[in-house]
Symmetry: C2
Amino acid sequence: MDQRTPTHLLGPQRSDLSAIADWDTSNCPVRDVLSQISGKWSMLLLHALSERPYRFGELRRLVPDISQRMLTQTLRDLQRDGYIDRTVFPTKPPSVEYSMTTLGHSMFDALSHVLSWAGTNHAAVRRARETFDASPV
Amino acid sequence: MDQRTPTHLLGPQRSDLSAIADWDTSNCPVRDVLSQISGKWSMLLLHALSERPYRFGELRRLVPDISQRMLTQTLRDLQRDGYIDRTVFPTKPPSVEYSMTTLGHSMFDALSHVLSWAGTNHAAVRRARETFDASPV
DNA sequence: CGGCATCCTCGACGATACTG
DNA sequence: CAGTATCGTCGAGGATGCCG
């Protein structure tokens, strides 16, 4: 095969690129999963909830520039995919707590590789960008 | 701190969530990097090029449902960020080869953790989704 | 062959107001 | 407090045609 560790972008068991063709979002596992966590706020919320559970209002204050429409919707999507749990406490007024599931934690662990890469190599990317923009070859 | 390996979503050296506030795309390293590779076609092309270099037309045939406008643009963006190289051979008619850089390979290695997670856990996510949709609590 | 220029669609996301 | 409903914007991406 190949020694480059290029993984299952395709299917679980195929590593050839012969049939990339028919992979729209609906039948490609990778795109199906990633399309949900690549939203504007998903990673921010996942990061927060990876530390400890938060209530709706707490998350709002943590991320002041998120509209509450998107906060609601993003949390719902993350819950739908099984990454976070939503617990309602029948207090008065009601309070709702969001917490990360086991599935969510395992996903975030994988994601953290990319996040830390980004933190480490951000400068290199910015330099590459500047170089490229300087000489529009 | 914390033992959960939640990484530098924030800044290079801070692991508190106290100031998530002022992180728009422009001053958050993670979002700055990820916004470029989370495009519709970026990962597909990165995956292909992680195996071997390809020419423009080859990539078109590999991914038939990409418009050639987006192929050009995505390749340009990846080149701009330093992930791939663009080599023009002055043949007649001209041919252009795209190949992954060292930076690109190191980034793709980090990304591969997420890709393989997606491949492994796609079924679990789909099940969670069905369960959620079944009972709109 | 490997593009670039133009026009258009459509869905993600924002702003605002109202509710149990 | 934790949402839902409605309307509006804006840009990613698609379709088509031309060029060195």
